[in-house]
Symmetry: C2
Subunit: 252 residues, 2 copies
DNA sequence: TACAATTTGTCCGTATGTATC
DNA sequence: TGATACATACGGACAAATTGT
């Protein structure tokens, strides 16, 4: 690793109050270089990288160091490794589901701190999902409408004995029904965090019934293309849910 | 790896397990175990982990394997490592800025695919930021108002010779002015991606002047607490910006 | 200023598991 | 069945960085 151009990394926030990273380790330089090439499209998805030994030689580092760089990229879902002949390290296909997972997990950490309150999540959802309901009502095709209806109809108690893995949360389905992946990316992690934090045992059955009724009503508005009604119904629904969360749910 | 029963330890070959399709490598098991403990709060932020050798022995793996596990966690910003005496591996403080970075980088990958269009980002922003402008106008205190005004006044040409690192993008500042971190978390990665994708050389000076004028107008609405005006002005501004982006900016 | 102690960083050599042909 | 090519894992050694004496 002869070249280390930015001796002091500029622009990076001085978050580590006490410690300054004075040198970038070689494994990080290699990882950064490869990440840059992947993000720039120089290494498109599906590309097979050289094996670990060659990769190390190409960067002037040992195989172990190249390995650690690959660990970094693989943990960020930028590459995948496979063993065996015809195996190796491949640039990953971008996967929205993984992004949602990662963001959700990061939010899970933040939501335990005083920096991010549950009320912030509820407010963000209140901004996002009524608008999503409107868009869904304006755009959903027959197939999407069917999916939304199914999600609303799906009974939400978990006593269901059959496998039934196809069930997606209603709010998730509605976000996807907008046809705008970015809305799913923003809204879904919030829903994930809220769902895992809610103490469901504190909510009574008739309240769940009301939730289900709201879902079905929204689904019908979407199906009939009534954008205004869908948006308003979703807003009412979320306001009601917020009361539920604030009354019962959280440990912070 | 004692805690994971079906682990394939290198020396002994557990041939009896026929269903084991996917063996998780040892470094991944170690990383997952540590991550679980961090997310559960068993290892609070600031905790110093044992050094790499001891950590390896504690998990029944070699130091190299323990290191690779730490690389995974460190690349997810869950731990930080430092060299030297008094160095070591420490559980990280949750950092919203890093989350924004990570999401932005993930979006950068997705935005190159047919799954996520630039128009999706623009639409999401059009949902989010007018609402943010409204909230900012309703809530901003004197200090925040000052920050928003400064961001709007900051001249945006990069010829500025002095260091001037305090300058934050106006849209970023406005998101933060809502006091809701979640809105920043959702909106900022979008802005980052859009900013890096825009071909700025295709935009003329008088258009930048108009952008700046819009920013100052919004800032004044926020400062005076005119929520409706702030929201409307931001919406108009974004619609105009969208035209700019769609006319000039992208390579996809 | 020099030196020692501690910890991560880097390298090498070797062996083994795994998947494909 | 065996050969091949790759990732995975180990253990030891030394280098570099940081802090305290």
């Amino acid at each position: 690793m002869p070249p280390q151009p930015p001796a002091a990394t500029p622009g990076t926030a001085p978050v580590a109050h006490l410690r300054v990273q004075r040198v970038r380790p070689a494994y990080r330089q290699v990882a950064d270089e490869l990440r840059t090439q992947i993000l720039a499209g120089t290494l498109p998805a599906g590309t097979r990288l050289p094996n670990e030994g060659e990769l190390g030689r190409a960067f002037g580092v040992s195989r172990s160091t190249a390995r650690e760089a690959l660990r970094v990229l693989s943990s960020q879902h930028l590459v995948e490794t496979h063993r065996g002949v015809q195996g190796g390290t491949f640039v990953s296909e971008p996967d929205p589901a993984r992004v949602v997972e990662d963001v959700g997990s990061a939010l899970g950490v933040l939501v335990m701190t005083p920096q991010l309150h549950v009320s912030d999540l509820l407010e963000a959802r209140l901004l996002l999902e009524p608008a999503a309901a409107r868009l869904a009502a304006q755009r959903a095709d027959a197939e999407t409408v069917e999916a939304v209806r199914n999600a609303a109809a799906a009974h939400r108690d978990a006593r269901d004995p059959s496998g039934f893995v196809g069930h997606l949360d209603f709010h998730t389905t509605l976000l996807m029904a907008t046809g705008n992946l970015m809305l799913t990316l923003m809204g879904q992690p919030v829903n994930d965090v809220l769902r895992t934090r809610l103490r469901r045992e504190g909510v009574e059955a008739h309240e769940w019934d009301k939730v289900d009724a709201c879902h079905r009503e929204i689904a019908e508005h979407v199906a009939e293309g009534r954008a205004d009604d869908a948006e308003a119904a979703m807003r009412d629904h979320l306001v009601e849910l917020r009361g539920l969360y604030e009354r019962e749910g959280f440990w912070t």
